[in-house]
């Protein structure tokens, strides 16, 4: 499989109607320390956004302000058309928040807990059918287990189920797959794709896993030094940074590797020169990791 097939399957759609998230010049200051100094971005309905950035860049602060759990210092914020600092309970019913559980509700049984938490939404919207939801997160065989007896990965899946039980229009995922094994991670990614594609849920996630961001997100936001330093699809960011693509091929049983910003042109020239002799051709676009590191280096360079 070549890296080319990893390109996002869903091209970024043009924003339709009112944005789900509309953040303008968001600022947050703790004492004399500016954590956010002018964050601006929007999210269209159904879009999946990944918020990346080094530790301490303000990702969690940003998400908590949008969730209405933290007051901002300044800036305009609209979440589903409402200022989260003044969000009503009806507004809250439209949000889903996936929290990192630890040992809460340990005595409860999985199915009982989801049915209970779903019951809070009934006056606002129709919550998920409990058994369908349990099946969707792959916990059917654990439905009658006590929450405290679940493994780490199973608990995280329960966290996701709790986050989406009210069929949210907007879902916040803060480092959703931290501590997942590769299989659980793959299943989780499938679930996020289904939520975004089938239910048209807008999703904002933070992660340190760049591979995950590239797989899940329509658009990537990079937060550094309290501002968004990059905003676009993984492809667009890589183009913008004109990071090199890698061309690999075999000729006369020998492997060749060449880095270039103009892979297409290079490959055409390669065929013009050697034609049939070229085998096992592979063009690897710069990974998001390369782009991310390049962006951060550039940002740090200009900050100095």
């Amino acid at each position: 499989m070549t890296a080319l097939s990893q390109v996002s399957t869903r091209p970024p759609e043009p924003p339709v109607g009112e944005p789900v998230l509309d953040v303008r010049d968001l600022r947050m200051r703790y004492g004399t320390n500016d954590v956010l100094n002018g964050v601006t971005f929007t999210a269209a309905p159904g879009e999946v956004l990944a918020l990346l950035g080094p530790n301490g860049a303000g990702k969690t602060t940003t998400i908590e302000i949008l969730e209405g759990f933290r007051m901002r210092s300044a800036g305009e914020v609209r979440v589903l058309g409402v200022d989260p600092a003044r969000g009503t309970e009806a507004w809250r019913a439209r949000l889903g928040i996936v929290l990192q559980s630890w040992r809460d509700h340990g005595k409860w049984h999985v199915r009982e807990l989801l049915a209970h938490l779903g019951s809070y939404y009934t006056e606002h919207r129709r919550p998920w059918d409990v058994d369908e939801l349990i099946a969707a997160v792959g916990l059917t065989s654990h439905a009658h287990k006590r929450v405290g007896r679940l493994s780490g990965g199973q608990r995280r899946r329960l966290d996701v189920a709790i986050g989406i039980v009210g069929r949210p229009e907007l879902l916040f995922l803060d480092e959703p797959t931290a501590g997942f094994d590769p299989e659980a991670r793959r299943e989780f990614h499938d679930l996020v794709h289904r939520l975004a594609d089938e239910s048209d849920t807008t999703i904002l996630l933070t992660t340190h896993d760049l591979d995950e961001a590239e797989k899940l997100a329509d658009r990537i936001l990079i937060l550094a030094g309290g501002t968004i330093i990059a905003n676009g699809s993984a492809e667009a960011l890589s183009r913008e940074m004109s990071t090199d693509a890698e061309v690999r091929w075999t000729r006369d049983g020998q492997r060749y590797v060449h880095s270039t910003t103009e892979a297409t042109k290079y490959v055409r020239e390669l065929f013009a020169q050697y034609d049939d002799e070229i085998e096992d051709l592979e063009v690897r676009r710069a990974s998001l990791e390369d782009t991310y590191m390049a962006l951060l280096r550039k940002f740090e360079g200009s900050a100095r």
Binding site: E64, D104, H116, G166
Partner: protein
């Protein structure tokens, strides 16, 4: 309206109460104090209240029922709040529409239920073990209002302390004065044997009045003679417990709201970090 949240909260309380009967730790919490108290009272059976022929064991039973109500209402509420704030239960409630309302209703139902179970475990064996108790229709009427008013007076105090203390392991700071109060509130021995100033302090707090109210329910009227003012002082009981109830109901929502406002994913994560550091290895 919030009827959905009230119903959800009520159900939450009942589910948690049922779950508390299904694990050893909670069951121990129900039975252990009852067994200890019953043993202590049985040992006191032989001695009499000074100036009467009435058994100290029989007198202590209603006093302890009252003290249990106050103790359970306050300590359980406090403990539940600090523990569930640390483990993130409260944050989950905050993420739901009207979730905090549901959470609080659930706690009130759970703690009322736990308190009721606790006193039933004292009353039922107590009635078989101790003589001289007076059981009329009025006994149960008095028991009911003292129980309800006692819970309304002490639950909010627990909620306030539970909001102020971040760390469940600092509970001892509150436990010590509460134990001292139990010792000076005429639970195990008539209060008028204590110095006047101690009596004065004890009468400010709900614990003394809960004991007195329960004694007025279960003891023959003649026993009022050994109380302060030779009376059950029913109106005073109503007045003091009612004052605590009103003060608590005004103060608790303010403190609870302030506490809940500060909860977020990162505050819970920070507490988790701290708690995990304490676990050796």
């Amino acid at each position: 309206m919030t009827t959905t949240a009230l119903r959800a909260g009520f159900q939450r309380g009942l589910i948690e109460l049922r779950l508390s009967f299904t694990n050893a730790q909670d069951l121990w919490g129900y039975f252990f104090p009852s067994v200890v108290f019953l043993v202590v009272m049985t040992l006191m059976k032989g001695s009499v209240i000074p100036g009467t022929t009435f058994s100290r064991g029989s007198m202590t039973l209603p006093s302890l029922i009252g003290a249990s109500v106050g103790f359970s209402g306050m300590i359980n509420t406090m403990q539940q709040l600090t523990v569930e704030r640390e483990d993130g239960t409260l944050l989950r409630a905050k993420a739901l529409p009207h979730g905090m309302t549901g959470y609080l209703v659930g706690k009130i139902v759970l703690i009322s239920g736990m308190t009721l179970v606790g006193i039933v475990l004292l009353i039922v064996p107590g009635l078989f073990l101790f003589d001289g108790l007076q059981l009329t229709a009025m006994t149960w009427v008095t028991l009911l209002w003292v129980l309800v008013l006692g819970l309304v007076a002490t639950l909010p105090i627990g909620a306030v302390f539970g909001s102020l203390f971040e760390n469940p392991r600092t509970m001892g700071v509150v436990m010590l004065p509460v134990m001292a109060l139990v010792g000076t509130s005429g639970i195990f021995y008539p209060i008028n044997a204590l110095p006047d100033w101690v009596q004065g302090i004890a009468q400010v707090f709900p614990l003394y009045w809960l004991g007195l109210g329960m004694r007025s329910a279960f003891l023959p009227d003649a026993m009022a003679a050994v109380e302060i003012g030779q009376s059950w002082r029913t109106w005073e009981t109503l007045g003091v417990l009612g004052t605590w109830a009103v003060a608590g109901l005004v103060l608790a929502p303010i403190v609870l709201r302030r506490m809940a406002r500060r909860e977020s994913g990162s505050t819970v994560a920070a507490r988790r970090e701290k708690a995990l550091q304490r676990i050796p290895g």
